[in-house]
């Protein structure tokens, strides 16, 4: 800013580059119930979460490390916003899965004003994993062992009372349940 004054263009620059004047200090994460601002928020390919005024993660760089920390330690609503924001900036199956998983937790803990809408959104979120990211995986804490996300997504949909479109659960010879496309 000093450089601009050096130019002697005070009149010009005085109105330019208007700042809020207060340096960033961090922000407390709210425990307020979730209120959707659009019908597709948190479901790929919608990026509406970036326009949600309640989303605390729109500004600034949201890193994976912080997201995992939020997932493990912050409230479900904050974690949902974190995953949904990351999903909007760069879509992966893992981000979609955890956004839906957090919605499911919000539903179970009744942390929203419109719970039927949350149920619907969670089902659509899991379905988006199956539709857009059928081979998506997540990793364990070591980052080396991968777990596929289609099976827990189908199971979650069923637990939420929905039907996974295009997928069914089958039993493998060794007794495991896995989801496969119809």
């Amino acid at each position: 800013m000093i450089d601009r004054h050096l130019l002697g263009l005070l009149a010009l620059t005085a109105s330019a580059c208007a700042t809020d004047g207060v340096p960033w200090q961090g922000q407390p994460l709210s425990d307020e119930p979730l209120v959707f601002s659009s019908p597709d928020e948190g479901v790929h390919p919608s990026r509406a979460v970036l326009d949600d005024p309640a989303n605390p993660f729109v500004s600034g760089k949201l890193t994976d490390a912080a997201i995992w920390q939020l997932q493990s330690s912050a409230g479900n609503v904050s974690a949902f916003y974190a995953w949904a924001t990351a999903l909007a900036y760069g879509a992966t199956g893992e981000r979609q899965y955890y956004a839906a998983l957090d919605l499911k937790a919000i539903l179970e803990r009744e942390q929203a004003t419109d719970l039927p809408a949350v149920r619907d959104r969670a089902i659509r979120g899991f379905q988006a994993v199956l539709t857009y990211f059928p081979k998506a995986v997540t990793y364990d804490a070591s980052g080396t062992i991968a777990y596929e996300l289609a099976t827990p997504s189908v199971i979650a949909i069923q637990e939420l009372g929905g039907t996974a479109e295009g997928w069914i659960l089958v039993m493998t010879p060794d007794g495991h349940t896995v989801a496969v496309p119809r």
Partner: protein, 1037 residues
């Protein structure tokens, strides 16, 4: 003793012979008029403005720089035609070597008039090229006199030289705005400058006569303008030469010359064009009729015919068509039918208010069917045959009375003599007038063998593959003024094993699951539709009120020299790059107004230049005396979807308005301009950081703020003052651009080929200054740059969630063009220094021409450009292209670090037709996407062309690979080498076209920094090797 006597005898005879054979010419005058006598004989000058410029070349071409074999081939053909017609003298500039003057006279008996244009088209004075001579400047006058005297000394003993001619309608040059022909000036408004011009003529005439009394001196005036000044200033003038375009009759021309000057008169240019601008068709018969009547008048006004008696002949303008004359730098291979000036003395195609003089059609011979050596065929028009008949009459024979002249010329009928031209030309004309035709074919067949060592991922790749490609040019020309051409490409197979896999024929990208792997093609996935594609297209329409130039993958220039001070309409010549990345740019059209709309241009299209958004750009420019005002507005109408490569990456949708004033005063030019841009971004927020007095935000050392774009951030300004002082030229410029006042970079060339220029990006203040100092053939050109972003780059600060307090601290990342309203990239803080050294002994052929390797005529010319950039800060994130074509910000940014480069280039025309050129470069630079490893690189090239033989080689050491993503991701090779050797068969070998066959070699070493290296990077001394041999055959019809 006997031997000594014999030697002396030979020497005396040789010396005597030399003196005896120098041509002598004199004007004789008696009461019946004037005659020219050459070597003791009466001679009416049946002259010709003769020259040789191949199709595709322009004024910079010199026949005399070609091989003796080629010159003789041209001269034998053309002089045979001229002698057969009865031409006895040609007009030549002082670049014709004296030996060729003698050769022409010896073999064909044709004399030469040596014409020094006396600075009409500029001159080299003290090693500096002066484009516009100031005839009042004593230093420039003295230099011109000295140069002309040197010319006289050089030629005066040459057998065949008959006359001296000075200038070429230099009086018109006082009023015209360029070197192209314009409407003939009527008045005498420039009397002061004209006095200086004609007094110089007088000075030169006296200087010549002091040295040579054997050759009369003439001037080439533009008609009779300023004839009173000629009378007072040009004492001693022997012949009044004049370029006369008065139609069928010169009317009172001869009488006025006699009344005012009392010297013989000679047309140094006259004639008519062979194109009917009104009917839009060739009219060789009308041209012949004009010339027949003009020559009849010369005969009638010559010695002893009872009239004025002072006509001694003329030089027909001209022998063959000049396809370069309209535009002079563009469309050189197009026979332009544009009429560029108006003359009511040619009523056959004159319409009031419209132009009727077609500069490219003045030849009495058409040219066509040029071969690869630049040798074209000539087809004499009707005028040739008409004048051949007319010239059978001896003007000075006792029997040649006025009645005999009239009878003789009346019996020469154009209609009867049109058959030879029309008949022989009919087939070619039919082809040209075909509305739809295949106008060209190019077939290229390639086969290649690739090898790779075990530590390359190509180790097990296919070794042999082949490529077949056919390009078909289809031309549609519904009227002579509307022409479109499309080039269709058909591909058979596209080799999949190339070391450089991105090339035009290889179209289908290989799907990749790895997002960070750049797209690679694969033939297996090539769809049938990919075998046929539109390679390029262009449209040219010359309509009454507007000219239209449409383009698809065909390059165009910028408007930087037309007042586009902020680079809104950018140059779009990309060479091979648009093939490499399958770019669909440039795509659009330019509409240029005419007449009352002549100040307006509009460009519109989906991608006017590579990476541009669909947009419309309008320009208005008008001169008010010494001040020219230019206004531009650009409006993007949508966002461009997708980018082929990072060098043509995303630009946000914007609108821009600029206003520029250019003020010329003497040798100084001042440009001042302002810009208003990107108002769409007003109100958008952005993040910026300032060094903190304490630990700062998240212990980063910075305090972080949120800003918001304001209206003032859309404004910018720039000013540049340039002074051309001949030997010393300099410029200074300064600019301020608000945060979002983005525009294009400076694409113009100021004085010389400096590579360090102003970035057009917003968010910066900048200053540049440079000087060009000339010492004869040497130039020293220092150049300085200072630029600094108004708001610097954003640092990278990771976010954090504090579980104990429940506080979230958002992270900060470098800005990028996708997410932020502005960025710091090429506007990063820089203090740059450049030193450019040039040695160019022939400044008339500008060293910085883009095709220098082919045009530079110096025996040796070279340049050394050294650039150092001090970059004390980093920058924001650039955009890179991923395998799926998506654009993402780079993960990191280049750190603060200084960079430098040095480049030596040279070319040589010392042994024509052999041309040599080469370069050497070195430097240290950064990758684009943030890898901190600095690259110190070296390399060079050598190119040789001789007749059909071409050889070239390129070497790069520790340099990036050939594609943009190599530099983006810092992929380097320890060694890269290319070699190419080819030979072009003469057209006669195939009869119908040109063929070139050759081989290309490629070798490179790979290490852990190279793409495709699969060895252990830790074992850095273990290099992988890849090589390729490619043979090719290319046939053009």
């Amino acid at each position: 003793m006997t031997a000594m006597r014999a030697l002396w005898a030979i020497a005396i005879v040789a010396a005597t012979a030399g003196v005896a054979h120098a041509t002598e010419a004199h004007v004789v005058h008696d009461d019946r008029g004037y005659k020219l006598q050459v070597d003791g004989k009466d001679l009416m000058v049946r002259g010709m403005n003769w020259g040789y410029t191949p199709i595709g070349s322009n004024y910079s071409y010199s026949l005399w720089a070609q091989s003796d074999e080629f010159v003789e081939r041209v001269l034998h053909r053309d002089m045979e035609f001229l002698r057969g017609m009865g031409v006895n003298m040609i007009r030549q500039g002082p670049d014709i070597p004296p030996r060729w003057v003698e050769w022409i006279h010896t073999h064909y008996g044709i004399y030469t008039m040596i014409n020094h244009t006396m600075g009409r088209y500029g001159a080299t004075i003290d090693g500096v090229w002066i484009a516009q001579i100031d005839y009042a400047d004593q230093h420039q006058r003295a230099a011109l006199v000295a140069d002309i005297v040197a010319v006289v000394e050089r030629y005066r003993g040459t057998r065949g030289v008959a006359l001296w001619l000075l200038g070429n309608e230099n009086n018109y040059g006082l009023a015209w705005t360029s070197f192209e022909a314009e409407n003939l000036p009527k008045g005498q408004e420039d009397a002061a400058r004209a006095t200086a011009l004609y007094s110089l003529y007088g000075e030169v005439i006296r200087a010549i006569k002091q040295r040579d009394s054997s050759h009369p001196v003439a001037i080439a005036n533009g008609d009779l303008q300023y004839i009173d000044l000629i009378a007072t200033q040009c004492k001693g003038l022997d012949i009044l030469g004049s370029n006369v375009y008065r139609g069928a009759s010169a009317r009172d021309f001869f009488q006025v010359v006699e009344d005012k000057l009392h010297v013989p008169a000679m047309f140094t240019e006259f004639g008519a064009d062979a194109y009917d601008a009104h009917a839009d068709r060739e009219d060789a018969t009308a041209q012949a009729e004009y010339l027949r009547k003009q020559w009849q008048e010369i005969y009638e006004q010559s010695w002893g015919k009872g009239k004025v008696g002072n006509a001694i002949g003329g030089f027909i303008f001209q022998w063959s068509d000049g396809w370069w004359k309209h535009g002079q730098e563009i469309n050189l291979d197009v026979h332009d039918t544009t009429a560029s000036w108006s003359n009511d003395a040619y009523p056959k195609d004159y319409v009031a208010g419209e132009n009727n003089m077609n500069e490219e059609w003045f030849g009495i011979a058409a040219i066509e069917d040029q071969d690869a050596d630049g040798f074209y065929q000539v087809q004499p028009r009707v005028a040739y045959y008409v004048l051949r008949e007319a010239f059978r009459l001896d003007p000075y024979a006792d029997t040649t009375t006025p009645e005999q002249i009239k009878t003789h010329f009346d019996e020469v009928h154009e209609g009867e003599l049109s058959a030879p031209y029309e008949g022989l030309h009919a087939r070619a004309t039919a082809d040209k007038l075909s509305r739809i035709r295949v106008s060209g074919l190019r077939m290229r067949l390639e086969s290649n063998v690739t090898n790779a060592s075990a530590m390359s991922d190509r180790a097990n790749a296919q070794r042999f593959d082949h490529t077949e490609s056919l390009f078909v040019d289809v031309t549609v020309q519904p009227t002579p003024k509307v022409m479109s051409k499309a080039t269709i490409n058909l591909v058979g197979n596209a080799a999949q094993n190339r070391l450089d896999p991105l090339y035009w024929e290889n179209r289908t990208p290989r799907p990749s699951s790895d997002a960070m792997t750049p797209a690679m093609p694969a033939a297996d996935d090539m769809l049938s539709s990919d075998h046929v594609s539109l390679y390029g297209a262009e449209l040219h329409a010359d309509l009454p009120v507007v000219g239209i130039e449409g383009f698809y993958r065909v390059g165009h220039g910028h408007w930087g020299y037309e007042g586009d001070f902020f680079g809104l309409y950018r140059e779009a010549y990309y060479g091979i790059a648009i093939d490499t990345y399958h770019a669909t740019a440039p795509l659009g059209a330019v509409l240029s107004g005419k007449g009352a709309l002549g100040d307006i241009k509009v460009a519109l299209g989906p991608e006017l230049y590579w990476g541009a958004n669909p947009s419309v750009i309008g320009k208005w420019s008008h001169a008010f005396g010494a001040v020219t005002l230019t206004a531009l507005h650009q409006e993007d109408v949508a966002a461009h979807s997708g980018a082929a490569t990072s060098s043509a990456a995303f630009q946000p949708v914007t609108r821009r308005s600029t206003l520029q004033a250019q003020i010329k005063r003497g040798s100084a030019v001042l440009d001042v301009g302002g810009i208003f841009a990107a108002s769409q971004r007003v109100g958008r927020s952005y993040t910026f950081a300032k060094p903190s007095a304490n630990a700062g935000y998240l212990d980063s050392g910075y305090d972080v703020y949120t800003g918001r774009i304001a209206w003032a951030d859309t404004l910018g300004g720039r000013a540049r003052l340039a002074y051309d002082g001949g030997r010393a030229r300099w410029y200074v410029e300064g600019g301020y651009r608000g945060l979002v006042a983005d525009a294009g970079s400076d694409q113009t060339t100021t004085f010389t080929g400096w590579s360090m220029k102003s970035s057009g990006r917003g968010n910066q203040m900048s200053g540049l200054a440079g000087a060009l100092l000339t010492f004869d053939s040497f130039q020293v050109a220092p150049n300085l740059l200072y630029q600094r972003p108004i708001i610097g780059p954003s640092p990278a600060i990771p976010d954090r969630y504090d579980q104990a307090t429940g506080m979230y601290y958002p992270g900060v990342s470098p800005r990028n063009a996708l997410a932020d309203p502005f960025v710091v990239l090429d506007n990063r803080e820089t203090q740059g220094m450049e030193l450019l050294l040039v040695y160019d002994p022939t400044p008339a052929t500008w060293y910085w021409n883009w095709d220098r390797d082919n045009r530079e005529d110096a025996r040796f010319a070279t340049s050394l450009d050294v650039v150092y950039r001090h970059q004390p800060t980093s920058r924001d994130a650039t955009l890179v292209i991923l395998a799926d074509g998506s654009q993402v910000p780079s993960a990191a940014t280049p750190p603060a670090h200084d960079v430098w480069s040095a480049r030596l280039a040279w070319s040589s025309a010392a042994a024509l037709p052999l041309r040599l050129s080469g370069s050497f470069y070195t430097g240290q630079d950064q990758a684009n996407a943030g890898d901190p490893r600095l690259v110190t690189r070296f390399g060079g090239s050598l190119r040789m062309v001789r007749a059909g033989l071409m050889a070239s080689t390129d070497i790069k050491i520790r340099d990036w690979g050939p594609y943009d993503y190599h530099r983006d991701f810092n992929l380097t090779y320890p060694f890269q080498w290319y070699g190419d050797l080819s030979y072009g068969l003469p057209r006669s070998a195939l009869g119908i076209g040109d063929a070139r066959f050759g081989a290309r070699w490629q070798l490179r070493f790979l290490d852990g920094f190279s793409e495709g290296y699969v060895g252990d990077p830790a074992l850095s001394r273990k290099l992988a090797t890849e090589s390729e041999v490619l043979t090719y055959l290319e046939v053009r019809l």
